[in-house]
């Protein structure tokens, strides 16, 4: 705990100072900043890896501490996450959780045919439940009952399964069996404290109402708390049950507790109508008249606002954006109309379709980018290899020209004939013996000729500083007059290789054969052109893939636009429908208001 507190303080101190450079090199500084960004955005694994990598670079002690702290904090965060996962180990395992998500997604996508076999295969409470629901959606009531009955009492899907079984019995007109399932569920410990209780109570109330058991129905409906979002539905059930018993008086306080706001949803409208009706039934005509008049005024106001929303495309766009992207805050009116809009299942379907298309478009774009990068890499590779081969070809040509020039001099200037060999015989003899001993083989005459020639230049240029004539410092100083290093066997091998190469190539030129590098060229050329033609073929294929991906991006983009347009249109239709419903409601209210007015007039007439 103390460590956590300390770590938090250190974190605050460390990360509240913007861009405190880790001041090593741009690469290390950037790596630290990247690790910090990843840590702050919750990617602890990557920040841990980057910090670890940073510690392997030669950092100053102070900077090492910062990187180490970031590493420890990243690891600590990961550990906390791991601990949390271990802590919830007693809950259904991760696999079951993922299974539930998968099945739920398939079910919501109405892929019932997919849900059922998968449900059988997975053999868990969740899989049985979704299998049963899939069968229910396909109207296979018998098999749905079998699958749902297999959900065990301890499973978290048990209450859902029981409610679904009750619904099946209602569909089969076996109300008593439905009542049995619901009563069994409500007395089961698995449902206690669960939001499902109220749903089950309302369902049970409806079953009891249908069976004509009105007092029991009232009792069940009245158990739904006033704070519950389902109170309206329960109150309506209670009202109907009371009315069937002729108890209009008790209906009024129950319905008055429903919080209703214009333009009123279906439950609210029904409640408002029943309330007015009860006033009239009880002879409280003035209250009924006032109630209807108030409703009419509210409806007139709401009608105007709805007209405005239907005509103004920016308002529709706002709702579209809230639906697709969410919003940080919503006004009361927005919350209300959003629930009206969301109540249309087609709108949810279109939203999901839009999201799926957006995901696809991103995936296509990513693939297109990957292909473009591969294409760029292959393009760079082709031109790079061509360039490299061109340089080698040019170098080989240059070498050939030099060799020919040397050959041209051979007869006259390059000859050692007439030169006093005594001066260099001593050095040459010792040098060749040493070379042959180092190489373990004979040095050919052509090479000896060239070495003697080089020695001649060396002696003539007056460079007697080579103290050890057995070695090759005279040769090395030929190539580099400033050479001061002591000779080593590998250097000797290198220089012999060059001299032998030159002498071999001179010999080849004389014979009219290819030089060393000329003979290597065809192999290199063949290898390179093989790779280039393969890469060119790959570029062509990538081009075709990119073209297809671009088309897919266009199509998904077009699909997204169409989804967006149809979503806006559907929202408009939903608002229009709401407007028509309001008009119908208004017509009913007007009728009842007229009835109330007439009753009042009749009353006054009687007086």
């Amino acid at each position: 705990m103390r460590f956590l507190r300390l770590a938090t303080i250190l974190l605050l101190v460390l990360f509240s100072r913007p861009l405190m450079a880790i001041a090593q090199s741009p690469l290390e500084e950037q790596q630290y900043q990247r690790a910090l960004y990843l840590f702050r955005t919750g990617d602890y694994l990557s920040s841990s890896e980057l910090s670890k990598g940073l510690l392997n670079t030669p950092l100053k002690e102070r900077d090492k501490d910062k990187a180490l702290l970031l590493l420890r904090l990243s690891d600590l965060k990961m550990q906390v996450r791991e601990d949390y996962l271990n802590f919830t180990g007693q809950s259904p395992s991760l696999d079951i959780y993922l299974q539930s998500i998968l099945l739920d997604t398939l079910y919501k996508m109405r892929e019932y045919e997919e849900v059922m076999p998968l449900g059988k295969l997975l053999n868990s409470g969740a899989s049985r439940y979704f299998e049963g629901m899939g069968l229910l959606q396909l109207n296979n009531l018998e098999e749905a009952t079998v699958a749902l009955s297999k959900v065990s009492a301890g499973d978290r899907f048990y209450p859902y399964a029981m409610i679904s079984l009750a619904q099946i019995e209602v569909m089969k007109q076996d109300l008593k069996a439905a009542e049995g399932y619901l009563k069994g569920l409500l007395s089961s410990p698995s449902i206690k404290g669960d939001g499902l209780t109220e749903r089950a109570r309302i369902l049970l109330g409806q079953v009891l109402f249908e069976r004509g058991l009105f007092p029991e129905a009232v009792k069940e409906f009245s158990r739904v708390s006033l704070d519950s979002p389902l109170y309206g539905e329960a109150a309506i059930g209670q009202a109907w049950s009371l009315m069937r018993r002729g108890d209009y008086k008790r209906v009024i306080p129950t319905l008055k507790l429903i919080k209703s706001y214009p333009p009123y949803d279906a439950v609210e409208r029904e409640a408002m109508m029943i309330l007015g009706y009860c006033f009239l039934k009880l002879g409280r005509v003035e209250e009924a008249r006032e109630h209807y008049q108030q409703l009419l005024d509210n409806i007139n106001l709401t009608e105007g606002r709805l007209e405005e929303m239907i005509d103004d495309s920016s308002i529709r766009q706002r709702y579209t954006s809230i639906l697709l992207e969410g919003a940080s805050s919503l006004t009361g009116e927005e919350q209300y109309y959003l629930s009206v809009i969301k109540s249309d299942p087609t709108i949810s379907d279109i939203s999901r379709e839009y999201e799926a298309l957006a995901t696809l478009k991103t995936a296509f774009f990513k693939k297109e980018r990957e292909s473009a990068e591969k294409e760029a890499y292959l393009g760079n590779k082709i031109s790079g290899l061509e360039e490299r081969l061109r340089k080698i070809e040019e170098g080989t040509d240059r070498s050939k020209r030099i060799l020919l020039a040397i050959k041209g001099k051979e007869g006259q200037r390059f000859s050692i004939e007439g030169f006093d060999m005594n001066d260099i015989t001593y050095f040459a003899t010792n040098t060749f013996s040493y070379w042959e001993w180092t190489l373990g083989r004979k040095v050919d005459d052509e090479t000896k000729r060239l070495v003697i020639l080089i020695m001649r230049y060396w002696i003539e240029s007056g460079r007697p500083e080579c103290r050890n004539p057995l070695y090759i410092c005279h040769i090395l100083s030929f190539f580099n007059p400033m050479w001061k290093m002591e000779e080593k066997p590998e250097e000797i091998r290198d220089i012999i290789w060059i001299i032998e190469r030159i002498s071999n190539d001179l010999m080849n030129i004389r014979k009219g054969e290819k030089t060393h590098f000329e003979s290597m060229l065809p192999g290199a050329r063949e290898k390179v052109s093989e790779i280039i033609s393969r890469d060119k073929e790959n570029i062509k294929k990538l081009g075709e893939i990119r073209e297809k991906l671009r088309k897919s991006i266009q199509e998904t983009g077009k699909g997204s636009e169409e989804s967006l347009a149809s979503l806006e249109m559907r929202i408009n239709e939903r608002l229009l429908k709401n407007r028509y419903e309001l008009t119908d409601f208004k017509a009913s209210i007007t009728t009842w208001l007229d009835a109330a007015n007439n009753t009042e007039l009749a009353k006054e007439g009687t007086k």
């Binding site: 990360f15 509240s16 100072r17 913007p18 861009l19 741009p26 690469l27 950037q30 900043q33 990247r34 910090l36 960004y37 840590f39 702050r40 955005t41 919750g42 980018r369 473009a372 990068e373 591969k374 760029a376 890499y377 393009g379 760079n380 590779k381 031109s383 790079g384 290899l385 490299r388 081969l389 340089k391 080698i392 170098g395 240059r398 070498s399 030099i402 060799l403 040397i406 001099k409 200037r413 390059f414 020639l453 080089i454 230049y457 003539e460 030929f478 190539f479 580099n480 007059p481 400033m482 050479w483 001061k484 290093m485 060059i498 190469r501 030159i502 590098f517 290597m520 390179v528 790779i531």
Partner: protein
Amino acid sequence: MKILIALAGVIIFFNSIALAEVPPPGRRDSARHLIIQLNNNYNFLNKELKKLEEDIKVFPRTTLHLSAVNKAVNSDIKLLSIEAQDNDRLIESHIYSALENEALAAGGRQQLYQGEVREGSHVLKVTYYWTEEDGPPQKGETYITFSMSKGMTYSIELSLTEKEDNVVLDSSQFEFINR
């Protein structure tokens, strides 16, 4: 120490070769010049063939890195989005969340893009939106020109900075050798 000596030797060696490229007068010096030139050329060919062999196995990457930082002193200045186009091709777009802005404000660096690009001249067009204290989004555009060499990593840092009563997305460029 040995490396220093070798380096000095190589410099002197190449200097002497460079000098030798202009043939000095006299026939012996001219022949010597040819042999030295040939040696130089053989060394070059050996290196190029070795590089070719390496390139055939794994050709070095030519990579562009784009990263974003927030250097604005005013902590209310936030990035809303960035869109980067390389030679008119969209390479990346990103919309910043509140959490990402916090990470940038704390000195973090976001790796916006990392990928292979063709060698040669490039014009990077960066379109960005920023805001101050939940005010209306402000649009900005910046053009960055650079030239990519094969086997190089080119790193461009985009930093949101306050400049003369304005907020701009400044750019700094770094170049690294891949091989």
